[in-house]
Symmetry: C2
Subunit: 125 residues, 2 copies
């Protein structure tokens, strides 16, 4: 049975405050909670959400660690009141390392392309 956070009850409301997305649970396709959203990365110019910084808390035996995931890899599930992703532990382990640097500045479009290609995610730009 899927775990649903009481704080992230589905409300039916189409909009959500940015400071409420921070902390929203993320589930695997079978409805198991795998982590939560720490914050969003937003394109200053266009106002598009580009990435979610997620913590995968002990996901499949991994320690808690932050990963920056293309936003298009997350799909909102109104029943769960959270996001679903099909990202696997294997994918996380093999993912490019440059972007795990907390000081990475996201100015290199080629590297972003590499990251999206790795995840099989559509580009946001």
């Amino acid at each position: 049975m899927p775990q649903v956070d009481a704080t992230a009850r589905p409300t039916g409301q189409p909009l959500i405050e940015s400071d409420r997305v921070e902390g929203t649970s993320v589930y695997s396709p079978d409805g198991t909670k795998v982590g939560s959203i720490e914050r969003l990365m937003i394109d200053k110019m266009s106002g598009k959400v580009t990435y979610a910084v997620m913590s995968f808390g002990g996901f499949l035996g991994m320690g808690s660690e932050e990963f920056t995931i293309p936003w298009s890899k997350l799909v909102y599930d109104t029943k769960l009141g959270g996001y679903k992703t099909d990202i696997t532990e294997q994918q996380l382990k093999g993912s490019p390392t440059f972007y795990r640097d907390q000081l990475y500045d996201w100015t290199d479009r080629n590297r972003e392309r590499e990251l999206h290609d790795y995840w099989g995610a559509s580009y946001y730009w």
Copy 2:
């Protein structure tokens, strides 16, 4: 001379964390600080930023109050390290009142249309 917050220095970085947008200054076209962003409203499904909840702190003599402004009314200015808007005090005073209700649930597209039309803002949907 425009006021520039030390915390919102232009970094040249194209992406910004959602928890850093919260608090970013907003300026009038002449570079005067008129308020700041409290939080963003995000469309859960598309991941688009739809509105910014802004506080206009004593803007042109008004007391500090929160207004939900269509995102397209804000333009990022890299020199100021904040957003510019051409919204005037007159417009704020005459704006529809329904959306100032903190519990307003944003499920009525007609009302959103009315709000965008009022501000002369392009629809986000």
